[in-house]
Subunit: 221 residues, 2 copies
């Protein structure tokens, strides 16, 4: 059940929900549940069934694959205004999750029960188009990721990661390794090389990008 403040923010983040037919609008407000979850919470995991569709209002979610030996790889991250396409996939395919979702920061979201989500999809074309284009986007991301993992060396992928973040970057080498699907030592080593080449400057949990151009060239040669 959403209060009117929450509903305002929902519509602001997700404008394609405006102009709903009255009945749907009622149902949306009545059925959605406002949730606050702290950073680090596992929101869903592999082999679990889906319990609903989340509209992210603030914070962000890392969607990752974890290997049995402790290594992990980030598939993508979800930000406010986007949606967890993996969840859509589960709901629409009546299947289970194939990855893990973790709150990267404190997260506030409006959770929609499956039935309401299906009603939205079926009766509101703007929302449907929104879901479709998200599918399309994520699909492209995943394919990009696959080629990166299959064909690109780690220094290039690391460079790509670095330029994709606003400098200065606050994260540990381990966290970067987890995004790339690699290990801490290798990332440390590569970062060191980048520093020696004058591309970045390293500090504790901090990376300053000095030469964006050179990094970009490395990232996309």
């Amino acid at each position: 059940m959403l209060d009117s403040g929450a509903e305002q923010r929902l519509l602001q983040r997700y404008p394609m929900l405006r102009g709903l037919p009255a009945a749907l609008h009622e149902e949306l407000a009545a059925q959605a549940a406002l949730l606050n979850v702290p950073q680090g919470t596992v929101l869903f995991d592999e082999l679990q069934p889906c319990r609903g569709f989340p509209f992210l209002l603030s914070g962000s979610i890392r969607v990752i694959k974890a290997a049995p030996n402790g290594r992990e790889l980030q598939l993508y991250s979800v930000n406010p205004g986007e949606s967890c396409i993996l969840t859509s996939s589960c709901l629409l395919g009546h299947a289970q999750y194939h990855a893990r979702g973790v709150a990267a920061e404190d997260v506030e979201m409006a959770m929609l029960p499956p039935a309401t989500f299906m009603a939205l999809i079926n009766s509101h074309e703007p929302f449907r188009n929104y879901v479709f284009s998200l599918f399309s986007e994520r699909m492209a991301d995943l394919m990009q990721l696959i080629t990166a993992v299959a064909f690109q060396k780690l220094d290039r992928r690391l460079a790509t990661l670095l330029v994709s973040k606003p400098s200065p970057i606050h994260s540990t080498h381990q966290a970067l390794a987890d995004e790339l699907g690699s290990v801490r030592e290798i990332v440390s080593r590569l970062l060191k090389q980048f520093e020696e080449q004058g591309l970045i400057r390293l500090g504790r949990e901090q990376i300053n990008v000095i030469d964006v151009n050179a990094l970009s060239k490395l990232s996309n040669p």
Copy 2:
């Protein structure tokens, strides 16, 4: 324009197209174009816009990513009754292709213009659900592929590939390497090892799986 024979076969392969409202049914029959393309044809490629939505009637399509150095990696393959979700993605996201599609055998398909596809999606719920579940399935496949590429050694991936095909397998080592995103020599070497372990028997363009159990265990330890 479909003749009634082709339409029969289309409906047989794609039963969710039955029960269309008359107007849509007309449009489908009028707008769809029957195409025959020989093995090896590149049906679409990266950075091209989509020209339509294909219903595969016979044959199959390999969807691959090609690296600049000549290596390639198969993302998935499309068989009759399925659809090229990548194309849906393009059409629905108004974007371009992110991979290449090649006819693995001679292919017969009914090509739907974008506008007709959109009309189908928007007005026929069974078809829409079909597209959604395909999205869901492919998404799962891609995620599976990502973890395989990122975390599994090549012998395991090769074993998986071998058990997924009906024995005897007729293909060259190069073709297997292209499915895995690796190179011929490595695949030859691994196959040799498998043979020495009594898991398979090798012949020219032929692989007989001897010990499925052991291979499966390798594939999924």
